[in-house]
């Protein structure tokens, strides 16, 4: 049963990444692209945590319920979680900067359409 849980999370995460990529490739509005990025980021983060998931265990926080000796079979992998924390913060930092840049860019070109931002090419 836990395999169904496992695979459905993977499916959700992969689906989010793909939808996000699709959005990045096809949307025109700069904020919409930023949203698509956020979606893809969320998917990737899910995948990361998913990669450290072990069934039937608890969070990697040692409290009274876990004995020090049996800890290796009691908690999930902490490293992916640590990485996701970093990734979330980075994601929001990039998103903030992107939104600011996007806002100023669209005020400059008079439109939030990325197709208008191709003065530089070839």
């Amino acid at each position: 049963m836990s395999t169904a849980f496992y695979w459905s999370i993977a499916g959700t995460a992969a689906g989010l990444v793909l939808v996000g990529l699709w959005g990045i490739l096809t949307r025109k509005h700069i904020l919409r692209i930023a949203l698509a990025f956020t979606l893809a980021d969320t998917g990737v983060n899910l995948l990361l945590v998913w990669s450290g998931y072990l069934p039937g265990r608890t969070a990697p926080i040692v409290d009274g319920t876990i004995s020090a000796s049996g800890i290796t079979s009691a908690v999930v992998d902490p490293l992916p979680q640590a990485m996701v924390l970093t990734s979330i913060v980075i994601g929001v930092a990039v998103a903030a900067l992107f939104v600011v840049v996007g806002v100023l860019a669209s005020r400059r070109t008079g439109s939030a359409d990325v197709r208008r931002m191709k003065e530089l090419r070839w």
Binding site: T3, Y6, W7, D63, L79
Partner: protein
């Protein structure tokens, strides 16, 4: 239309790749690789009962320092850009509901944030969420007042100080045990208590302060441009 379809095709192909690769990633029953070591040695090495915090702050403190720098750079860039190229108008008068909320809520939220930061080594939380929560207090206060709070120099000072202390804590480690950002050279204390985990609480505070001041700076910059936030 063509673009949508092309995008769809690319995405579908990538989906096929994903469909091919995900089944390769069979679920494991046991910890593997470094994960096992973190779990088995984590508490002894770092004295933190929150192993995620142990990894973040102690084992892979360098990543976290980098993460702080990411945030630092992003907020500096945002503030810089919005100062260089100001847009919009000054803040407008807040509605009464907001003003009321802004008076009532800050204290409990602030407490919550401080708790997150201070207990990062024993319970879920940590500098990042804690800092964010504190920053949201700042935001709330800002929304509640008609003028932008004049924190000139204070926010950057906190930012500077927090960043410097993080870095200097790192150097302290080098000078004592030759390992940058080592947290354990002063002893790790009893896991599960507030005063444990070596330097972890200190680093968490530094991170929290930094994150809080940075997000606050960003919000201030946003607020300066006027608008809803």
């Amino acid at each position: 239309m063509i673009r949508t379809l092309t995008g769809l095709i690319i995405v579908l192909v990538l989906g096929a790749v994903a469909a091919a690769v995900i089944p390769e990633m069979q679920m494991r029953e046991e910890l593997q690789g470094v994960g096992y070591s973190y779990v088995s040695r984590g508490m002894d090495d770092t004295g933190s009962s929150n192993l995620v915090t142990a990894v973040i702050v102690a084992y892979r403190g360098l990543d976290t320092l980098g993460e702080v720098v990411v945030l630092f750079c992003a907020s500096t860039a945002v503030v810089l850009i919005l100062t260089l190229y100001p847009i919009g108008i000054k803040a407008s008068e807040p509605s009464r509901v907001v003003a009321f909320t802004a008076k009532v809520l800050p204290a409990p939220i602030l407490l919550f944030g401080v708790y997150f930061i201070a207990h990062s080594h024993i319970s879920p939380g940590g500098g990042f969420p804690g800092g964010t929560v504190i920053a949201s207090v700042f935001l709330l206060v800002m929304l509640g007042s008609s003028s932008v709070p004049d924190g000139r120099g204070r926010l950057p000072a906190i930012e500077s100080l927090a960043g410097l202390s993080f870095g200097l804590l790192g150097f302290w480690g080098i000078m004592t045990v030759g390992q940058f950002l080592n947290n354990a050279f002063l002893g790790t204390g009893t896991p599960g208590t507030i005063v444990s985990g070596g330097l972890i609480p200190l680093i968490s505070i530094a991170i929290g302060a930094k994150v809080a001041s940075e997000f606050s700076g960003v919000f201030k910059a946003f607020r300066n441009t006027g608008g809803t936030v």
